[in-house]
């Protein structure tokens, strides 16, 4: 789960990490009031969306798609400029390298006081899958695309692996500060900020905490100038406050509804809907559809113990997508019995008046009963014995390869 920069900064501040004064705004009037309140000659006017590359992004009109302004993060030197930038940003669509061509509507702004920057650094805390521990990454090359730095000058990225039993140790903070060339007051300020960020990462069950840039100010203080925070959704049960931080407009409505009914759904661009049990098999089903020339419309895992009702919900979610021209059901019954799935499929096709071709491949527990139930129905359901046959069949039925 991702949150906005302004929310991330509030969290950093609450955890004792220095950030600049800023105000969250949703209207141009808010932004002007924020400018007056901050009393800073220079302010940053920052689009708030859940995607990176905002500074180099482009704003377009949401309907006409006419070009409005280059740059989703602007430095304003006057009240008039704040007015112009806020007007150009709010309600318009911001396209960045991470949003895709569609872009995202900007509903939130962050107006932040300026500061005197001496140097920009990069800092991130994340879970390192290979070492099974928390990893801290820092670089002197702040404000840049870190993947580019990793490829071109990997020696400029410094890493610390935190022992889960010992936690972040003093020497690790000192070594990292020295590797970044920080001395004196800045060294001390960095150590303190890093401790606070690590504590926040653990206490808030973060999946990722990325500060790019983390800056050293002219007066040798370390300040978080940006904040990209995401949480580990598995830990949601112990963080009631996340409900308030969640911006539902940033998530696919249908994906949220699927999740509420225990289904895992991701929308894709193709025209063959898939309904599968198990995440690995659901991915493999998409892959095999593509292998035989089709394009999957979605990822959908109904889970290990789905009932008739969930199968019906799954069908209705797939059919909401107007691109869907056919559906492939692929079930390997383990805990889930094929006869139950077969009944669910029949109930759903009848209830939803299914009018696209449907191929059903069943295997595993009670497969013979399942197949018999499907065969006995007078519905237009095409059986398949294995995944390859199922995929080929559905591609044929929708009129051949895309």
């Amino acid at each position: 789960m991702n949150i906005h920069e302004y929310q991330g900064k509030a969290l950093l501040k609450a955890n004792g990490v220095p950030v600049l004064e800023g105000v969250h705004c949703m209207t141009v009037e808010d932004a002007l009031a924020a400018y007056d309140q901050l009393g800073s000659k220079v302010v940053a006017v920052k689009s708030q969306i859940h995607a990176g590359g905002r500074g180099k992004g482009t704003l377009y009109h949401p309907e006409s798609r006419a070009h409005v302004m280059d740059g989703g993060v602007k430095i304003a030197f006057s009240r008039d400029e704040v007015n112009t930038y806020a007007t150009n940003i709010l309600g318009n669509v911001l396209v960045t390298i991470q949003t895709g061509d569609e872009g995202k509507i900007v509903n939130n702004l962050y107006v932040e006081a300026g500061c005197d920057i001496a140097h920009e650094y990069y800092l991130a805390i994340l879970v390192d899958r290979e070492n099974k521990s928390v990893l801290i990454m820092a670089s002197t090359e702040g404000g840049m695309d870190i993947e580019h730095v990793a490829e071109t000058t990997p020696e400029k990225i410094h890493k610390i692996s935190v022992d889960p039993n010992a936690g972040l140790l003093g020497y690790q903070k000192r070594d990292l500060a020295l590797a970044l060339g920080l001395t004196g007051a800045a060294h001390k300020s960095f150590g303190k900020a890093l401790s606070s960020m690590y504590s926040m990462f653990v206490a808030s069950d973060c999946a990722m905490l990325e500060i790019n840039p983390l800056v050293k100010t002219a007066d040798e203080q370390i300040v978080a100038l940006d904040a990209k925070v995401s949480f580990d959704e598995n830990a949601e049960f112990r963080h009631k406050s996340w409900d308030e931080l969640r911006d539902l407009s940033e998530e696919e409505d249908v994906e949220i509804r699927a999740k509420e009914t225990g289904l895992s759904y991701v929308k894709l661009d193709g025209n063959i809907g898939c309904l599968v049990n198990g995440a690995g098999l659901a991915m493999a089903t998409m892959d095999v559809i593509k292998l035989y020339g089709g394009e999957p419309a979605n990822f959908l895992d109904v889970g290990g113990g789905a009932n008739e009702e969930q199968v019906k919900t799954a069908f209705s979610i797939i059919l909401e997508d107007p691109n869907v021209k056919g559906i492939l059901v692929n079930i390997f019954g383990g805990i889930m019995r094929c006869d139950i799935i077969a009944r669910g499929v029949i109930a759903a096709t009848e209830a939803l008046d299914l009018d696209v071709p449907l191929v059903v491949r069943l295997a595993g527990t009670n497969v013979d009963e399942g197949k018999a139930i499907l065969a006995a129905s007078d519905l237009n359901i095409h059986p398949a014995d294995d995944l390859a046959e199922g995929a080929q069949r559905i591609v044929e039925l929708i009129g051949g390869a895309a």
Binding site: R129, N234, G280, M283, A284, G334
Partner: protein, 307 residues
């Protein structure tokens, strides 16, 4: 021989009084697994009925292992308590026997809980953790066998193919594929789809390589992380038995979690393409479609003079 779990392994069930725990414990007994009881804090002294027989419940894993001399435990405890259940089992096995296998089925454990639990288990080298978020481990026997997890037992048969996979139903698919060419399995291990887990691919490959019963290996990966690439590089140097591989997620979009917490392409890394390339570079015979695993395996067995 098989790996880690013998056909007659004695198995405890943590969370045996819960709905999931009881349901699957019953299925395990039905398959022939030697279940010796279970553990649910606060319910010690009670018993649970499985296949018409009463099985004892203990309050703690220390008591349960002391009383039964169990070899393994399987965890069906909800996510908020699962990491602690893993650590309790690891501590008890280590203190009492110096060894034991802990299989965690639970999906949805917070990642930082697993970071802690995995470090805890790694401090007890005799204890092996399998999972979490996995179907478990099964060693099919001559009649029955040891099924520790949620996989459908009846699709398996004892044989010489070792299977290791990140995914549940895709493992069943692989099992069915071996059966389609008249091959059974030595042991099937589901290592799980979480970003931080216990036993990994390399440990499974090493164990299959050392196991006399296993003569060929099927390895199934998915997008996210680089465990498959590391395993392939390791296999190229260390595994002499034929390996057949598949990777799920070639069509997955970047930056989106595909069901499993760990199945995500981040920063352009961890794609199926990368993983297939690593498999091929290591001489692993790849199937581009799981329905072809059987025929690719048959080909590999023939090449190795095993058919």
């Amino acid at each position: 021989m098989a790996i880690w779990i013998e056909e007659d392994a004695k198995v405890l069930v943590q969370g045996i009084t819960g709905k999931q725990g009881q349901f699957h414990a019953d299925k395990m007994v039905e398959y022939g697994t030697q279940i010796v009881g279970g553990c649910t804090p606060g319910k010690g002294g009670q018993s649970v009925d499985l296949q018409g027989k009463a099985f004892p419940v203990w309050d703690s894993m220390f008591e349960a292992i002391e009383a039964t001399d169990a070899d393994a435990t399987v965890i069906y405890v909800p996510p908020p308590f699962a990491a602690e259940a893993i650590m309790e089992a690891a501590d008890a096995f280590d203190s009492i026997k110096g060894e034991g296998v802990v299989v965690c089925i639970t999906e949805g454990i917070p990642t930082l809980d697993m970071v802690k639990a995995v470090a805890f288990v790694e401090n007890r080298p005799g204890v092996r953790l399998i999972g979490p978020n996995c179907p478990g481990i099964i060693t099919p026997g001559d009649g029955g066998g040891a099924k520790i997890g949620i996989m459908p037992g009846h699709i398996h048969a004892k044989g010489r193919i070792g299977i290791v996979s990140k995914s549940g139903t895709l493992t069943y698919e692989a099992v069915a594929q071996t059966m389609s060419i008249d091959e059974g399995q030595s042991t099937c291990v589901g290592i799980g789809g979480d970003p931080v887990n216990g036993t990994g691919f390399i440990e499974c490959l090493a164990a299959f390589e050392a196991d006399e019963q296993t003569q060929a290996i099927v390895m199934i990966g998915e997008i996210g992380g680089n465990a498959e690439q590391e395993a392939a590089a390791w296999a190229a140097e260390n595994v002499t038995k034929p390996i057949v591989g598949f990777v799920a997620g070639a069509t997955a979009p970047p930056g989106k979690r595909m069901g499993h917490a760990g199945a995500i392409i981040s920063g352009g890394k961890g794609t199926a393409e990368e993983k297939f390339a690593a498999f091929e570079a290591a001489g692993i015979a790849c199937a581009k479609d799981p329905s072809e695993l059987g025929s690719v395996l048959l080909e590999s067995l023939k090449k190795a003079g095993l058919r």
